[in-house]
Amino acid sequence: MNLTIALFGIAREIVGQSQLQLALPTGTSVQQLLRQLQEQYPGLTQLSSLAVARNNEYAQGEELLQERDEIALIPPVSGG
């Protein structure tokens, strides 16, 4: 399946672009996606936290991703 991952803040700077297009096996979990991105972009492992958002909600590690999902990487938030 093809996924588009939106990137923000320091995650965008580490990856060097504001979104990533990935072709992943059907049934890839949030945790597997994170692991793959951290291997590809080691700077992501240095962050205080790194979450995945799926359709505007924080996703759990075991959730399985689907092609139509809106996915984003969420580095430590600092609003307010």
Binding site: G9, I74, P75, V77, G79
Partner: protein, 138 residues
Amino acid sequence: MLIELTDLPIDVAAVLQAMQADGAGAVNTFIGTVRNQSTGRRVMRLHYEAYDAMALHQLRRVAEQAQERWPMLQKVAVVHRKGTLAIGDIAVVVAVATPHRAESFAACQFIIDTLKQVVPIWKKEEYEDGTVWVAAHP
């Protein structure tokens, strides 16, 4: 419920207007502004970036959580700024109206505290000699 993410200066008077309710005796407002220093470094300006769709969704959810926790909450507003801000500029305004004052303080504080934990907005501080994404690294 007034939930907004804006590139323009926040109109505090409009937020306060939105708090008017005949049964509300207490309005608590929190205004977060840009400080001229952070962890001892002189800040020149701030850059806020948001994941707009999710930020609005999460801001609304935080406001709804406050309404569930304080059912007497009559009005609530959360407005967050985006883009480049100068020292003294307003980054966020939270306002709540309740019949009595204790709940107005508690609900307003709950909203800003929760906002800072969950809403996907990021702040980059600009110093004379560089920039840092706040809270990004341990």
